[in-house]
């Protein structure tokens, strides 16, 4: 019973991951500037990689047919999910911060930029 539940929850998380990856890909293609695209890319790593990894670990934990090795698969999946969870936001944060501080990419179109008003290019 609990194993079936684990597999179903895992499958739902895999599905969420697939949809989120599609949304992130569309966002990466359609968003207007570098910072927004970075946001879409991070959606792809958190909702599209962290969540499905947790789901895969749950599916492995709920599959007795894999024998004792299912705990290795589940543990490995959880460890990798934790690493993705902390590393992906740090990476995109470092990219955005470095780009903004060096003034390499201007925020365009922009509503408000409290960090540096000169970087803000208003539309129209």
């Amino acid at each position: 019973m609990i194993e079936d539940l684990l597999v179903i929850i895992g499958m739902i998380m895999l599905g969420i991951g697939a949809v989120a990856d599609l949304i992130a890909a569309i966002g990466l293609n359609r968003f207007k500037n570098f910072y927004l695209r970075l946001h879409a890319a991070t959606i792809g790593t958190i909702w599209g990689a962290f969540v499905p990894l947790i789901g895969a670990s749950l599916i492995a934990a709920g599959s007795p047919c894999l024998g004792v090795y299912r705990w290795f698969v589940a543990g490995g999946g959880l460890a990798i999910a934790f690493l993705v969870l902390i590393l992906a936001p740090a990476g995109s944060h470092a990219l955005a911060r470095a780009t903004h501080r060096s003034g390499l990419v201007r925020v365009e179109p922009c509503v408000v930029d409290h960090l540096n008003e000169d970087m803000c290019v208003k539309e129209g």
């Binding site: 690493l83 740090a90 944060h93 470092a94 911060r97």
Partner: protein, 268 residues
């Protein structure tokens, strides 16, 4: 027009080269005896019923690298050692680091915190790759190269000076690397040194007993498989490679302005 000409030349080169490879491949086929060698390696890597020929390591690659062709690997390590010596010789005399005072060093606090967590995990994974080298794919070199990523990350994210202030200096790494290489040299002749007082005949780089030499390092310690010399080779190679790569990373990330100030000081 020039693009198309270049493309045709590249295409002709690739097709001609693959033709040469096919023709050559038909002539340089290894003989049947050499093909059987691979079978023997797999058969003897872990074989408690053939104690005079086996390496007692389930990892066929490590048993080939550190036992069947151990001398080759020792020479490889020596080549790596010489390459590091060369880079140290290039960077000689750059000892005085002038730390900039007002500048903010490194990336933001978020990245630094994440690096603090992940650097420890990198070292742990590297140690597991190296110390399980005789059981699972991996080994001393691979583990050492993985461990060297941690100082590289710290150099990029915290700055060169942070690593130096924490005590990871070129001299300490040089000491660690020399320790590792000395360890490899001692492990290479340890069976010979044990056999010498007992008057038994033994070989350099011997691991398990051989048909004409009944001595070898124990394959199990306390029920744990260590495969004789392989575990020690992996451990010392881990230290030597990690320290060697760290030295190179420290040398190539010396800021140019510190170097320039040193040069100007010399001129005056």
């Amino acid at each position: 027009m020039r693009h198309i000409l270049g493309l045709i030349i590249v295409l002709l080169f690739i097709i001609g080269f693959s033709l040469v490879l096919i023709v050559a491949g038909n002539y340089i086929l290894p003989s049947h005896e050499i093909g059987m060698l691979a079978k023997y390696y797999l058969y003897l890597a872990y074989n408690p019923w053939q104690r005079n020929f086996t390496v007692m390591s389930p990892e066929a690659v490590t048993s080939i690298v550190w036992d069947f062709r151990g001398l080759d690997t020792v020479f490889e390590t020596a080549v790596f050692y010489l390459a590091i010596i060369g880079s140290i010789a290039l960077g000689r005399g750059i000892v005085k680091y002038i730390k900039p005072e007002e500048e903010e060093l490194g990336l933001s606090l978020i990245v630094k915190t994440v690096t603090r967590i992940s650097a420890v995990m990198i070292i742990a994974v590297a140690a597991s790759i190296a110390l399980h080298g005789h059981l699972t794919p991996g080994g001393g070199f691979q583990g050492g190269a993985t461990a060297a990523v941690a100082p590289l990350l710290i150099i990029v994210i915290f700055s060169h000076y942070y690593l130096l202030e924490k005590g990871v200096t070129k001299d300490l790494m040089l000491f660690l690397r020399s320790l590792g290489l000395t360890g490899i040299a001692i492990v290479a002749i340890i069976v010979y040194l044990i056999a010498l007082p007992q008057g038994i005949h033994a070989y350099v780089l011997q691991n398990q007993p051989k048909p004409d030499s009944s001595i070898g390092l124990p394959a199990y310690i306390n029920g744990q498989l260590i495969s004789g010399t392989l575990w020690f080779f992996n451990l010392f190679e881990f230290f030597a490679v990690m320290a060697g790569f760290t030295i190179v990373f420290l040398l190539i990330t010396i800021p140019e302005r510190a170097f320039r100030k040193e040069e100007e000081g010399e001129k005056q």
